[in-house]
C-alpha cells in the first residue's frame, strides 16, 4: 500500500521539523513543506499531495484562506488544519472553508497520524461539540482578494511589497485597499490592522515584523 503523501505548512521551522520527525513512517511521507500560506498553496499545486497539513496562522496567507485556495486548485488534496487554538469560530471557519479535520498541537503525535490516516480513508475529524456551528460571518462581504490584502496590510506590508507578493500591479493593490477601507468603515492603515485582528482575519502574534 503506497504511503500517504503530505505537504506541511507551518511558519516555525523547528515546529515543522519536529512534526516531520513525528510523521515519518512507512505509512506517511512528507513530500513538501512551506513556511507561509502562499508558498504552501504553490507546493500543493505542484505536488498534488493526498493531504495538506496546514497551520491556521501562517504569514502572507492564513490557514483558512489557504484551505479555500487548495480546495479550488487541488480538489483531490484534503486539508488537515493544525492549530494551538480550538475556539469554535476558527473551527467552524475551517470546516466551512473545506477542511477535513482540525487537530490541536496539544494532541499527541499519534493522534495526528491517526487523523491523517482516517481523512485519507474518507473520514472527517473535528473537535467534539463543534458540529453544525455557524462560522462567524464578517459584517461585510469581502472578496478573497480583499481578504488577502487585509492580511498583508496587517502584516505591515506596503503596497509595493503586496503587489510583488500577489503578482498584481500597485494600482490594483491600492484599489483593493481603498475598497477595503470603505467596506470596513476605517480611514487609516492602523485602523485597518485593528479591524483585521477584530475580525479574526489575522492573529497579531502571527504577524511578522518585517525583517
Amino acid at each position: 500500500m503506497r504511503a500517504i503523501r503530505v505537504v506541511l505548512g507551518d511558519d516555525h521551522a523547528l515546529v515543522r521539523e519536529g512534526i516531520k520527525a513525528c510523521l515519518e513512517s512507512p505509512r506517511v511521507l512528507v513530500v513538501g513543506e512551506a513556511e507561509d500560506g502562499r508558498e504552501l498553496v504553490r507546493r500543493v499545486q505542484v505536488l498534488r499531495p493526498d493531504i495538506a497539513l496546514v497551520d491556521v496562522s501562517m504569514p502572507l496567507l492564513n490557514g483558512i484562506e489557504a484551505t479555500r485556495q487548495i480546495a479550488r486548485i487541488s480538489p483531490g488534496t484534503r486539508v488537515v488544519i493544525l492549530s494551538m487554538f480550538d475556539d469554535k469560530g476558527t473551527v467552524s471557519s475551517a470546516r466551512e472553508a473545506g477542511a477535513w479535520a482540525y487537530v490541536l498541537k496539544d494532541e499527541a503525535p499519534d493522534h495526528l497520524v491517526r487523523t491523517i490516516e482516517r481523512v485519507h480513508e474518507g473520514e472527517r475529524s473535528f473537535p467534539a461539540g463543534t458540529e453544525g456551528l455557524p462560522s462567524p460571518k464578517l459584517p461585510v462581504d469581502l472578496t478573497p482578494r480583499e481578504r488577502e490584502v487585509l492580511q498583508l496590510v496587517a502584516e505591515g506590508m506596503r503596497s509595493a511589497e503586496m503587489a510583488r507578493v500577489m503578482k498584481r500591479s500597485v494600482c490594483t493593490i491600492r484599489n483593493h485597499r481603498a475598497r477595503l477601507m470603505r467596506k470596513l468603515g476605517v480611514r487609516t492603515a492602523v485602523a485597518l490592522v485593528e479591524k483585521a485582528e477584530e475580525l479574526g482575519v489575522v492573529r497579531l502574534e502571527a504577524v511578522r515584523r518585517s525583517a
Binding site: 516555525h12 521551522a13 523547528l14 521539523e17 487537530v103 502574534e205 511578522r208 515584523r209
Partner: protein, 197 residues
C-alpha cells in the same frame, strides 16, 4: 566526549514530541526527559540534573518566565535555553536577565538549535546581537557555519534571493563588506559550527 543531556519543556504535545525526536537525531545530544508544565519541569530538572533545559516560553498555559528562576534554583548547574515564538529582541534580553543562557526562535532551523545547545552547554551566554532581527541572527549563524545561500534558503524554507537580501542587511548593519567579514564577525561573537561538522 559524553553527550549533552537535555530536558525538553513544552506544553503542546505535538511540539514537545517533535523536539524530542529532532534532538534524538543530533550527535552528542541525549534527551533525558520531557515535561509539559512548569511543575514537572522543575521536578524533572531536580531529578535528572540535565546539562541544558530547553524551555518553551510562548505557551499560554506554561508560565515559562516564572518557572525560569525556580529552575535555576533547583538545578543551578543546568543551563536554560529558552524557545520562543515571539519576535522581539527585547524578549531575549528579558529571558537572559531572568537567568536563561540564551533564546532560540521557533522559526530557527534545527542547525541553529543544535549550535545553541552546544554553545550554552559549553558555558556561553547567547546575547542577541543588538539591532538584528531574529531572521537576520538566524542567517548570520548559518553563514558562520559556512553554509551557501542555496543551503540557507532550503534550511529556512525561503527563497535564495531573500537570503541575499538578509546578507546585504547584515553586512550593512554590522559594517562588514564581504561574506568572509560576516563569517569572521559571527565567529568572533561566538557563533561556531559544532565540532566535526
Amino acid at each position: 566526549m559524553r553527550p549533552i543531556r537535555v530536558l525538553v519543556v513544552d506544553d503542546h504535545a505535538l511540539v514537545r514530541h517533535g523536539l524530542v525526536r529532532l534532538l534524538a537525531t543530533l550527535d552528542g545530544v541525549e534527551v533525558v526527559g520531557a515535561a509539559e508544565d512548569g511543575e514537572s519541569a522543575i521536578r524533572l530538572a531536580a531529578e535528572t540534573r540535565p546539562d541544558v533545559v530547553l524551555l518553551d516560553l510562548s505557551m499560554p498555559r506554561l508560565d515559562g518566565m516564572s518557572a525560569l528562576p525556580r529552575l535555576r534554583e533547583v538545578a543551578p548547574a543546568s543551563r536554560v535555553l529558552v524557545l520562543s515564538m515571539h519576535d522581539e529582541p527585547e524578549y531575549a534580553q528579558a529571558a537572559v536577565q531572568m537567568g536563561a543562557s540564551g533564546l532560540v526562535s521557533k522559526a530557527a532551523s534545527s542547525e541553529t538549535l543544535s549550535g545553541a545547545i552546544r554553545a550554552v552547554a559549553a558555558g556561553k551566554t547567547l546575547e542577541p546581537e543588538a539591532g538584528l532581527t531574529p531572521r537576520e541572527e538566524e542567517v548570520l549563524s548559518l553563514v558562520a557555519f559556512g553554509r551557501k545561500n542555496e543551503e540557507i534558503a532550503r534550511a529556512l524554507g525561503i527563497q535564495p534571493k531573500t537570503v541575499e537580501h538578509h546578507c546585504g542587511r547584515l553586512m550593512s548593519k554590522l559594517g562588514v563588506r564581504t561574506r568572509a567579514g560576516l563569517v569572521a564577525h559571527a565567529r568572533r561573537i561566538g557563533l561556531r559550527p559544532p565540532a566535526g561538522s
